[in-house]
């Protein structure tokens, strides 16, 4: 069975841990608990009738207190950029992290999610910015870990991309 290491990257408090919890255990907590280090969760998915074990590396948030260790990124098959729609600055962080990934492990399949669509009225990232990101080739999802909106679609899309990017399985003679 395929195992794919997927890193969740983004600024602090954008909802990386919440997205993983919602996806893996379908649980959401209002209480913010900052992540220090790494928590790895597993989730089995089936893509095109192929089972795939996603190893979801929930990395700590990027900010002035903690910078993502490049060693964490090694061995990744893909990654998810998480943004907080209510904080425009998280878009800048996401861009920097993407550049770090490309510099460290090369261009990998990735998806981006602008989280907290339950607070849409407070968003600072407007539609024109989203359109620009999409024009730049970012697969952008809008969702809410709190409401569970767009979460499954996000991971399913990345799994598809990972499968497409993976070399065809060897056929034994």
């Amino acid at each position: 069975m395929m195992q794919k290491k997927v890193c969740l990257l983004g600024g602090f408090a954008v909802g990386k841990t919440s997205l993983v919890r919602r996806y893996v255990t379908n649980v959401f907590s209002e209480h913010y608990q900052t992540t220090i280090g790494v928590t790895v969760e597993k989730k089995m998915v089936t893509v095109d009738r192929q089972d795939m074990m996603l190893m979801l590396w929930d990395l700590y948030g990027e900010d002035e207190f903690q910078h993502v260790r490049e060693s964490y990124l090694r061995g990744s098959s893909g990654y998810i950029l998480v943004l907080d729609g209510t904080r425009k600055a998280t878009l800048d962080t996401a861009r920097l992290l993407q550049q770090t990934v490309v510099r460290t492990v090369g261009p990998l399949p990735f998806v981006a999610i602008i989280n907290k669509s339950d607070l849409r009225s407070e968003w600072e990232i407007d539609q024109s910015v989203i359109d620009q990101l999409r024009e730049q080739g970012w697969p952008v999802f809008l969702g809410s870990a709190k409401l569970g909106q767009g979460v499954d679609e996000l991971f399913a899309r990345l799994a598809e991309m990972l499968l497409s990017a993976a070399p065809p399985p060897r056929v034994s003679r």
């Binding site: 602090f12 900052t34 280090g37 060693s71 964490y72």
Partner: protein, 597 residues
């Protein structure tokens, strides 16, 4: 008891590791496995179930540890010595409890080791600090965002307010409204362009100034406006006020309380200069000096008076009793170049030859019995001015002669003196007689008539200018109310109708008497027909009377006596009660042979 101080080396290292709560793994090149060194801490066994000296099965390790241990070989293959930290990761034990671990890889000569420790209180403290810092950043972010939103909202409101202000201002300017706003201290905070233009001042000159520095009012007007500004009335209109010295504009003021700020006031100015000028022109047409009337007959009289006033000739004023002959004489004097000199009036009726001569020309002490001192006459007293001789048709022949000499020679001679005195007096005479007929009858000197009739003014009777009756009556009503303190606002239309239909043999004087009567009788704010004297209410338009008051009936003497009795012998008052002039009254007294006491 065991002697702990002499433990063998292996046992010592095991104890040290146990004391440090660290798990040590050593890479075994031959077996290709990680070998657990010493006794692992209790948490290790809970997570991985391994006991001492066993090999580590990577497949049983967490994904993170697997990843780390797999990737660590590249570190060992590099330069010896460096320690490669894994960074913290979260590990779950077999009971589902989580702990945070961190691994370090190092090489000691040929031996390659991995030390794994459970992060304890220091790590938790650090996590707590980071947690608080991030929470604080989030709160500050929310606060900053809230401030930004507030700022944006306020800027939006400010812009909207500015736009509204601009619109209102544009509208205000377009409407040409003359208005200004005063603050609680009466200083101008805003004035429209039209206001500045009207007052002839620049914007920067008005703002911040006190209103009374900009509006130069007379003292009493200033006090009134100040009083109204300090009052609490919502809106007041006052004026018109004269602006500037000399008066250059007439304005009316509307004083509004600013509903938004009760201490502020809005002044709306209305330029009434043109209206005032028109009103003045209208008033001048409707009245002339103290004469009231705008009928074509009176307008002709006004013009004649103006013309006569321009020359210095003798004037004869003709008209029925009560038509205002003395008022005309005063108007001529006031319009002439002699206006700053005396105006004296003498009634020539009912006076004896000597009294009239003395009165007009003066006398010397001892000239006649009772002449106890020198006395100048009216001609001398009126030096430089005008002498009005009323009822000139009644003067005795001797006085006519003396008067003729004055008019010809400009000289008078006091009684008892021989030396004439030069006088400079303009004579204006009046009569209700037809002097031409008097000349024919021989009672009046023709040469004197020609001398005094150089200019003539004929006053129409009131019945020939009925259209002036409402104006006259209203004017009289205002004067009488002001004198008596009564507040009667108007005359009922029926009352006016009656006044218009009366023949008014006593002319304006009779009309005034009737209005006085009505004011006394009136109990409300409007004069009704019942308030008028009975002779008015019973009168209809009839044939024009003669120029004389019809006093020839047998009751006339009784009426005169009654009037004198009621007036307690005061002839002026008695004449007033009868609605005739004092001159007529005296003449009639003589004609009716009444000897007043």
């Amino acid at each position: 008891m065991t002697d702990q101080s002499h433990l063998p080396d292996r046992s010592l290292s095991d104890h040290i590791l146990a004391a440090l709560d660290i798990t040590v793994l050593e890479w075994n090149e031959e077996s290709g496995t990680f070998q657990l060194q010493g006794v692992p801490p209790e948490w290790w066994s809970r997570c991985f179930g391994l006991t001492s000296r066993s090999s580590l099965d990577l497949s049983r390790c967490s994904p993170f540890l697997q990843d780390y241990l797999t990737g660590i070989h590249s570190v060992w293959q590099g330069a010896p010595g460096p320690i490669e930290k894994s960074g913290p990761w979260t590990e779950s034990d077999q009971q589902g409890d989580t702990m945070t671990l961190e691994a370090r890889a190092l090489s000691l000569g040929p031996r390659m080791l991995v030390l794994i420790e459970r992060l304890g209180s220091d790590f938790e403290n650090m996590r707590s600090i980071v947690q608080r810092a991030r929470e604080r950043m989030l709160v500050e972010g929310i606060t900053a965002k809230s401030h930004r939103n507030t700022e944006i909202r306020l800027i939006g409101r400010l812009e909207a307010s500015e736009r509204t202000k601009d619109d209102a201002l544009a509208l205000l300017q377009q409407l040409g409204l003359t208005a200004m706003v005063l603050d609680e201290r009466g200083r101008i905070t805003f004035a429209t362009d039209r206001t500045l233009e009207m007052l002839g001042i620049a914007d920067e000159g008005a703002i911040g100034q006190s209103w009374d520095q900009i509006l130069s009012l007379r003292k009493e007007d200033h006090l009134l406006v100040q009083h109204l500004l300090e009052g609490s009335s919502q809106t007041r209109s006052v004026g018109p006020f004269c602006l500037g010295r000399p008066c250059s504009k007439w304005i009316e003021l509307e004083i509004h309380r600013d509903l938004g700020h009760s201490a502020r006031r809005i002044l709306v100015l209305h330029d009434r200069t043109e209206v005032h000028a028109l009103r003045q022109a209208l008033n001048e047409q409707a009245s002339f000096h103290d004469l009231v009337g705008k009928s074509s007959a009176m307008l002709r009289v006004y013009q004649l008076v103006r013309d006569v006033a321009q020359v210095d000739t003798t004037v004869l004023i003709e008209g029925e009793t009560g038509t205002g002959k003395e008022l005309i004489a005063r108007a001529i004097h006031s319009s002439s170049g002699r206006k700053n000199k005396p105006f004296l009036a003498a009634n020539c009726a009912g006076l004896t030859d000597s009294i009239l001569t003395s009165q007009l020309f003066g006398h010397r002490r001892g000239a006649f019995t009772g002449a106890i001192q020198d006395q100048q006459g009216l001609f001398e007293a009126a030096e430089g001015g005008t002498l009005f001789l009323d009822e000139i048709g009644d003067i005795p022949p001797n006085v006519q002669t003396a008067l003729l000499r004055v008019l010809q020679e400009k000289e008078i001679t006091r009684l008892g003196e021989a030396k004439p005195r030069t006088v400079n007096v303009r004579v204006v005479a009046a009569t209700h007689h037809n002097l031409s007929e008097d000349v024919l009858r021989g009672s009046f000197r023709a040469d004197l008539l020609y001398r005094i009739r150089i200019a003539r003014v004929q006053l129409p009777p009131l019945r020939d200018r009925r259209e002036d009756i409402p104006l006259l009556a209203q004017s009289m009503l205002g004067q009488i109310c002001a004198a008596t303190g009564k507040t009667i606002e108007r005359l009922h239309p029926d009352t006016l109708r009656l006044l218009m239909s009366h023949t008014w043999p006593g002319n304006v004087r009779e009309l005034k008497s009737a209005v006085e009567f009505a004011v006394i009788s009136c109990k409300g704010t409007e004069i009704h027909p019942a308030d008028l004297p009975p002779e008015i209410t019973g009168t209809t338009v009839g044939p024009s009377p003669s120029v004389f008051i019809p006093l020839s009936n047998p009751d006339e003497k009784t009426r005169f006596l009654t009037a004198l009795s009621e007036a307690k012998g005061n002839r002026t008052e008695a004449a007033k009660r009868l609605g005739i002039s004092r001159a007529t009254f005296y003449r009639r007294l003589v004609e009716l042979d009444i000897q007043p006491h």
